[in-house]
């Protein structure tokens, strides 16, 4: 799980670094006129999508997504457990829907290309598919760790 977290954080960080370079090229080119790089805006947007989806998956590995825990933290333990199961199950269902239908959307865009460089727009939509699958992986990992821990505490009975 830790390895997944680190590799996702590093990937998102690296893509962000590329985004800064591309953004700088755009500003530098526009204001100095020394270079003409027409593809910077579209490339920055594509990189941004991948930063967001990989970063979201990285956040998932450490339960870093924004949530409203005021009510659930005040529930009695016997009610908190079913809530937690419901949250994991609901999140899993949503991520499967997102990945499945996201792939369909990506396929439907296969023949559309970016205007300034020869790359299919499906790669923009694939960021969502890959991100959802990685979040699903992180979710399964989290549930597995919790299940193992709870099994350890109760002597083998989860």
């Amino acid at each position: 799980m830790r390895r997944l977290q680190q590799s996702l954080e590093w990937s998102a960080g690296l893509l962000l670094c590329l985004m800064v370079i591309v953004g700088f090229l755009q500003v530098f080119g526009r204001y100095t006129g020394l270079i003409f790089v027409p593809w910077t805006e579209e490339a920055a947007r594509l990189l941004f999508l991948w930063v967001v989806w990989l970063g979201a998956a990285a956040a998932m590995t450490r339960a870093g997504h924004i949530r409203f825990d005021f009510v659930v933290d005040r529930l009695p333990a016997w009610l908190r457990r079913p809530c937690e199961v419901g949250v994991h199950a609901g999140t899993g269902v949503f991520l499967i829907v997102l990945a499945w239908y996201g792939y369909e959307v990506a396929q439907s865009q296969a023949n559309s290309s970016y205007l300034t460089f020869p790359l299919s727009i499906k790669y923009a939509y694939l960021s969502g598919v890959v991100g959802s699958l990685l979040m699903l992986l992180a979710l399964v990992g989290t549930v597995w760790v919790k299940w193992r821990r709870s099994a350890g505490e109760t002597g083998g009975r989860p």
Binding site: G13, C17, G55, R67, F68, T91
Partner: protein
């Protein structure tokens, strides 16, 4: 019934502890399965990606990154030294240092939590050492940090501008006067409290000390000038200003202060990428909800319902202020904005309220929400830094909160003040 399913399921998921992004997403899945009438589920991934694929939103990671880099190069300590030299000699000096530092930091940072963390980590221990109450130190830190997203650049404002389809630059400019007013009002309340409690004063700085502190902080002081100046004059777009802010921070960090190390960069980039992603993924999910809200004509229903009660823009602003104050108390500000802005936008246009003015009012409301329980992130953060209970900070923050509410009232009912700078620069351009 359809509305009840969409929003009811969303709040149910939220209350049981599901992250905001998945609560939004799953409620739209439930809605489409029950009432979609042939609408395919492909709408969800399509809108979630398309909602983020928007050039103005790229300013968010850039300003986020610039703020992180600035903090990493020891800017906070330099600004604190500068502010101490300027206002430290007034009774309760360090409390004003907190406010002044936040006002300046607001000019290059766009988030309240980052500002509270940067100033609080330096100034709360210093205030405690000098005999200020830890609860008061925490309260001033939390209240002053709300200025961050009001004075440009501002991450909540970028998100509002994209959702409401208004100019990011105009909204940024609309925040300048209210942001400075917040600083002035907090200053006044702090002055009264400090006099009453006899808080300590620092020795007045000599001219030489003042010049030295200003020179040491000059690169930090220049950052807001470059960012704001670029946007004010229309030389750069807000997104390009974000890029410039990053490049400027790197130049200052490596070339001038030489406090930034290459080995610091991976951590900063990774933190920024994940921090941005957590916000942007909600923006994407809200795109789906916003799309449904538009298609179900919920906005038009709100227009009909509210205008049946009152047609007065003043009354409607009062109602919306109360609504967003409650939302700010109960929800994460960005999530609250993303859910409700598409719902209220038709109403705002119907009663001819300027959407830029309304944007400032909404962001100010939601920042005040950061100071109120149960979801007052700033309260929790500053209480933890000061090592005091939330209750103690709530008691101390009350008069400061009253000052911010006064600024909210003025900003709401004096649109000419809010819009003075945007109108001025629009006419100049």
């Amino acid at each position: 019934m359809t509305l009840l399913v969409l929003f009811g399921s969303f709040f149910l998921f939220l209350v049981i502890g599901m992250p905001v992004v998945f609560s939004m997403g799953l409620s739209t899945v439930v809605f489409l399965l029950l009432f979609g009438q042939g609408l395919p589920l492909t709408v969800i991934p399509h809108q979630m990606v398309a909602g983020v694929d928007n050039f103005p939103l790229l300013a968010i990671p850039f300003f986020f990154l610039a703020g992180e880099l600035m903090n990493a190069v020891g800017i906070t300590q330099r600004l604190v030294a500068f502010a101490t030299a300027v206002v430290g000699h007034i009774r309760g000096g360090l409390a004003y240092v907190v406010i002044v530092t936040n006002v300046i930091m607001a000019g290059f940072s766009g988030t309240a939590l980052a500002d509270a963390s940067a100033t609080g980590s330096v100034l709360i221990p210093a205030m405690k050492r000098q005999g200020y109450g830890a609860d008061f130190a925490a309260a001033v830190t939390a209240a002053a940090a709300t200025i961050g997203p009001i004075i440009p650049p501002s991450i909540p404002m970028i998100i509002y501008a994209v959702v409401a389809e208004v100019s990011v630059g105009s909204l940024f400019l609309a925040g300048v006067i209210p942001g400075l007013l917040m600083g002035a009002y907090l200053f006044a309340v702090t002055y009264i409290i400090s006099r009453r409690r006899g808080y300590p004063v620092q020795l007045r700085s000599t001219w030489r000390e003042l010049v030295t502190a200003t020179r040491r902080a000059s690169w930090a002081l220049m950052a807001p000038v470059i960012i704001l100046g670029g946007i004010l004059t229309g030389v750069v777009t807000p997104t390009e200003a974000g890029v410039l802010a990053v490049v400027y921070s790197l130049v200052v960090g490596f070339g001038v202060h030489r406090e930034l190390k290459v080995r610091d960069l991976p951590g900063i980039f990774c933190r920024t990428a994940v921090g941005t992603a957590v916000i942007m993924i909600i923006v994407g999910a809200s795109g789906v909800m916003g799309w449904l809200v538009a298609n179900l004509r919920i906005g038009e229903a709100v227009v009909a319902g509210v205008t049946a009660l009152t047609q007065s823009p003043w009354m409607i602003l009062l109602l919306l202020n109360l609504f967003f104050l409650v939302v700010g108390c109960l929800m994460d500000p960005l999530a609250g904005m993303l859910i409700f802005i598409p719902v209220f936008m038709p109403l705002i246009k119907h009663v001819h309220i300027d959407p830029v003015h309304f944007g400032l009012v909404v962001v100010l409301n939601l920042m005040i929400g950061l100071l109120t329980p149960p979801v007052g992130y700033l309260l929790f953060m500053s209480a933890e830094m000061a090592g005091v209970s939330i209750d103690a900070v709530i008691r101390e923050v009350a008069p400061l909160l009253a000052a911010l509410l006064a600024v909210l009232a003025i900003s709401t009912y004096w649109p000419a003040m809010v819009m003075a700078i945007p109108n001025l620069f629009q006419s100049v351009r």
